[in-house]
């Protein structure tokens, strides 16, 4: 079976029990990661989740050793997850404690905790490799993730924890939004900011420990950060942003797992991250709201409007125009002839622009508190923003003043 055939059949869960299980598990994981990550991104604490994920490794090692000591083979996933949750919880509290009690900044605390815990974890894994009992082979897959040999019980664990994280996100959406936007105000409305922050990090912790098996601890942070950053390109509201982030995370997990199952030698975590990055690149370029191309296009259009307006006003005031771009736009739109003299159309348009300018100037004087004055971008015709009655009033004052003897 070719790669493509396998990929397509895996995409529709037809490529065997194990790969279907992994794909669904990774999809759920991505869903939870995207949702939880949205708040972490808005609170600007992405790096804390990196510390959390690296701090899981000693827990994995210790849990393995304990389970072997009690006669198991050390590979029972819930046991490893509990161990990793405890050690990353300790890591999280240490980051918090260092930041609060010393004068060190959070990034220094993160760097210290991340490297020390990871170092300790690697030492423990090395010791485990020399142990005579236990089934240690493959334990290093927790670093980069693997889709090999997943059990239904493991997939169920991931699904339950993922659902738990999603419910958590829904319940805490309002306090977390408020704390992310304005923590001081949140505190005055009775929200315990520290508890909300810890809950937010607890969410990251849940996603991290259930993601160990599939994505691995080194890259799980990407699943928390890339989906919300990508979602931000598409929306200006928190609610839709969470939904889009969850969808992107879920799709990345699903597609990535299927891809890596199709090519057995590829590690799952990096593939999932690369798929998520693909979504990011597409969004950064093509989103109509905040994407690069749309911004460039908006800027180009705006620049043209400005030049057109400046040119027309200069025509109305019979001032010479030197700007080459302005001249080109006026020529292209038939406002001036090749030799720079205004056409009939140009004269009409320039008079209209001059009258609009005068009306706006008068509006600012006699209607200073009207919201149209605040929304005015300096280019939009007054007819589009004020009522005919208001414009009549403005014209009346203008004619009164110009008619009155000086």
């Amino acid at each position: 079976m070719s790669f493509l055939d396998y990929f397509i059949s895996a995409l529709f869960l037809q490529a065997g029990y194990n790969s279907a299980l992994v794909a669904v598990g990774a999809g759920l994981l991505g869903l939870a990661g995207g949702g939880a990550g949205a708040f972490i991104f808005l609170r600007k604490r992405a790096l804390v989740s990196d510390a959390i994920s690296h701090a899981t490794l000693p827990g994995v090692g210790i849990a393995f050793m304990l389970m072997v000591a009690f006669g198991g083979d050390g590979r029972w996933l819930p046991g490893l997850i509990i161990g990793s949750a405890i050690s990353s919880g300790i890591g999280l509290l240490m980051v918090e404690w260092i930041t609060r009690q010393t004068r060190l900044t959070e990034d220094a605390a993160i760097g210290a905790v991340l490297s020390v815990f990871f170092g300790l974890g690697i030492v423990l894994l090395t010791i485990i490799q020399t142990m005579s009992s236990g089934r240690q082979a493959g334990l290093e897959n927790f670093l980069l993730g693997s889709t090999a040999g997943m059990l239904i019980s493991e997939a169920t664990t991931i699904a339950i924890a993922g659902a738990l994280a999603t419910a958590f996100v829904f319940m805490l959406r309002r306090p977390m939004t408020l704390v992310a936007f304005d923590p001081e105000y949140a505190a005055t409305t009775g929200i315990n900011v520290r508890h909300i922050d810890l809950a937010m990090m607890g969410l990251a912790l849940i996603v991290t420990v259930i993601g160990l098996k599939i994505v691995g601890l080194i890259l799980i942070v990407a699943l928390l950060i890339i989906p919300p950053v990508t979602a931000r390109f598409w929306t200006n509201q928190v609610g839709p942003m969470i939904g889009i982030a969850a969808a992107i995370g879920g799709l990345s997990g699903y597609i990535g797992a299927v891809l890596s199952a199709a090519v057995a030698s590829l590690p799952t975590g990096p593939i999932i991250v690369l798929v998520a990055f693909g979504f990011f690149v597409i969004s950064a370029l093509f989103s109509p709201l905040r994407g690069g191309l749309a911004s460039a296009l908006r800027h180009w259009r705006f620049q043209r409007r400005v030049h057109r307006r400046q040119g027309l006003l200069a025509l109305a005031r019979r001032e010479p125009i030197y700007d080459g771009f302005t001249l080109r736009i006026l020529r292209q739109s038939g406002m001036i002839r090749r030799d720079g003299v205004a056409t009939l159309r140009g004269k009409t348009a320039s008079q209209k622009a001059a009258r609009d300018e005068a009306r706006w100037a008068m509006a600012r004087r006699i209607l200073p508190d009207d919201s149209a004055i605040e929304r005015y971008d300096g280019l939009t015709p007054i007819e589009d923003m004020m009522t005919p009655d208001q414009i009549d009033e403005i014209d009346r004052v203008i004619s009164e003043q110009s008619g009155a003897p000086a």
């Binding site: 939004t177 408020l178 001081e184 009775g190 509201q237 508190d369 929304r375």
Partner: protein, 266 residues
Amino acid sequence: MSNAELIAEAGKIVDVAAKDAPLTVRGLTVSYGNKPAVFSVDASIPAGSMTAIIGPNGAGKSTFLKGTLGVIPRLSGEVRIFGKPFHEARDRVAYVPQRASVDWDFPARVIDVVLMGLYGSVGLFRFWRARHRQAAMECLDRVGMADFATRQIGQLSGGQQQRVFLARALAQNAEFYLLDEPFAGVDAATERAIVAVLKDLKAEGRTVVCVHHDLSTVAEYFDRVLLINVRRIAEGPVDTTFTAANLQETYGGRLATTHIDELRLA
């Protein structure tokens, strides 16, 4: 449903005749590190008053406000809001932080920020209903920002941001409003709009406290002043307390005598 009905439904009818003062502070000290930013300040704000907190930069005006609201921990001192500790009287208080304290590129529309003022009155699981949106729109209308409801907050000018913050506090329908530098760096139209809203609040029997920096408008906008420079210098009605001698003591040598002469002082 009108805003008034919503208020009545929430059971938070403003009691103008509340006998406990909105704010009583005894010996409040707040410090960053080992240097007190506010040292042993006493204050007492009577109901229905409009008070300006005045002092030079770094005098602890904002810190005083945050200390009374428990936003930053107190080192010592006692704060009573309507005769109770703050956490018991929280529903009766609305705080307007400095607008520079948040990131305005946050994914929210103007109406979303105002709805944040209603978070306390809707449950954890409930969704926004039409009456919540309507209440928020009425608050936006009061600050002249109704036309901006669906704008992204990142597109607002400084003055508009300030008015959105005020609308959010109005949505809380509190009895006691504390504002941190509401007039800092805003345009004239915004300043007029905010002053009008604050005077309305006072006319409704509510209490207003503002950290304020523009000495020339104190007498026009406020009826009481609290002069602070780490320590409390003076507190009382503008007529008797906003004097050249007190200002000289508050600002030390930092305020030119000529400037003081130009002010409408008591």
